[in-house]
Subunit: 199 residues, 2 copies
DNA sequence: CGATTAATTGTGGATATCCACAATCGCCCG
DNA sequence: CGGGCGATTGTGGATATCCACAATTAATCG
């Protein structure tokens, strides 16, 4: 799934004009005529950004935005509006919208914002992919291994861990080796960095 | 230096009214009649938040905001304006303003925003204090100790570190013990968490 | 029931770490 | 010049870790 610029606007003239502009600059554009239509096509895997008109028939851009937030949307959203007011813009940005642009807009400026949004999204996805792979590795750990990992991350010696869990040191060593293997680390320090880095 | 609500507005009536409102709700308020005046009083140590009118004689609220950004201001800024437009609000928020409120405003809403801003600032300062203390500990390390710390954080054994630095293992052990002592950690895992957590 | 998986434990040896006790060398400062 | 500091090294012993080889028990699953 490569990056797309999703465009939701109920005005066909705008869809055509913006679509053309984007394509001409090398951005793949996917137009939708309504919020409902986009919502039906949406999936968490979509990559790119979303250009969203606020005033539309059917559900409004703001309503669509809220719905997408609930669904866990990660696409950066650039609002387009001819009739925005300040509270609307403030609220949208504080909820996490990427930008809020008033029509008529300057082509170059919009393209810059699109490019920046695509960059952000790519970076976010790359980092999400990392933490996905981390999570999948974590899920492969058995309960006991996770439990022992916690104690290792608390800086405890195998001996102490064995005491606390009332098991032999040898068993701790085995679990430790297994979880290092599964997590793809060679030392406790690497494990700690892996776990600490992920916020 | 305890938390204050700094208020910059060239309209005395507003300063009085807002000042009274804030005081009555238990917020300590420090009014200034101009951007220049606040700038002269500003220091990086100020704690609290800043209520900033946009349209003022002398330098404008937006100019003051930009200047404060250059100076490394950490105070959350809540803009107050009677004549804001959308691009202005968008730009301010994207530069990191905490909020952007149009006059006339609802008292309770403004107070909520102030409280939230104070909370954010307190949290930010607490975390900054941590990283300050971390930095001061880091500065107490000798060059050699820092160098060895890097290698420890790379997950290398004392033996390997000794080889790479062309010194004896014993020396590495000594430095290692010293830097652990100075950094206040007992194990390499704790050190790693300390260093990794601070972005 | 036979296979698989997780948890558990043991032995023993090779490596590493931790640390007290001790010492040398070079540099800068009052 | 004597003292302090940082870097360096050594010895030796107590602890820990790493790991190959080996095995038992309990639970789950087709």
């Amino acid at each position: 799934m490569s990056a797309q610029v999703y465009l939701v606007d109920d005005d066909e003239a705008i869809r055509d004009a913006l679509g053309w502009l984007l394509q001409s600059r090398g951005f793949a554009c996917v137009p939708h005529a309504s919020g409902e239509e986009f919502l039906a096509a949406w999936s968490p895997q979509l990559a790119g950004c979303l250009l969203l008109d606020i005033r539309m028939g059917g559900i409004s851009g703001l309503q669509l935005f809220d719905r997408l937030l609930e669904l866990g949307n990660a696409l950066p959203v650039i609002f387009l509006t001819g009739h925005g007011d300040v509270p609307m813009a403030v609220s949208a940005l504080k909820k996490g919208a990427f930008d809020f642009v008033e029509k008529p807009f300057n082509d170059k400026e919009l393209l810059d914002r699109v490019q920046e949004a695509l960059r952000i999204d790519a970076a976010r996805r790359a980092s999400a992919a990392n933490s996905e792979s981390l999570n999948s590795r974590l899920e492969r750990l058995t309960v006991r291994e996770r439990q022992i990992m916690e104690l290792i991350l608390a800086g405890k010696f195998n001996k102490v861990i064995a005491d606390e869990l009332q098991i032999s040191m040898r068993t701790v060593e085995v679990h430790r080796a297994h979880l290092f293997e599964k997590m793809g680390v060679r030392t406790a320090v690497e494990l700690s960095q892996l776990m600490t880095a992920r916020r």
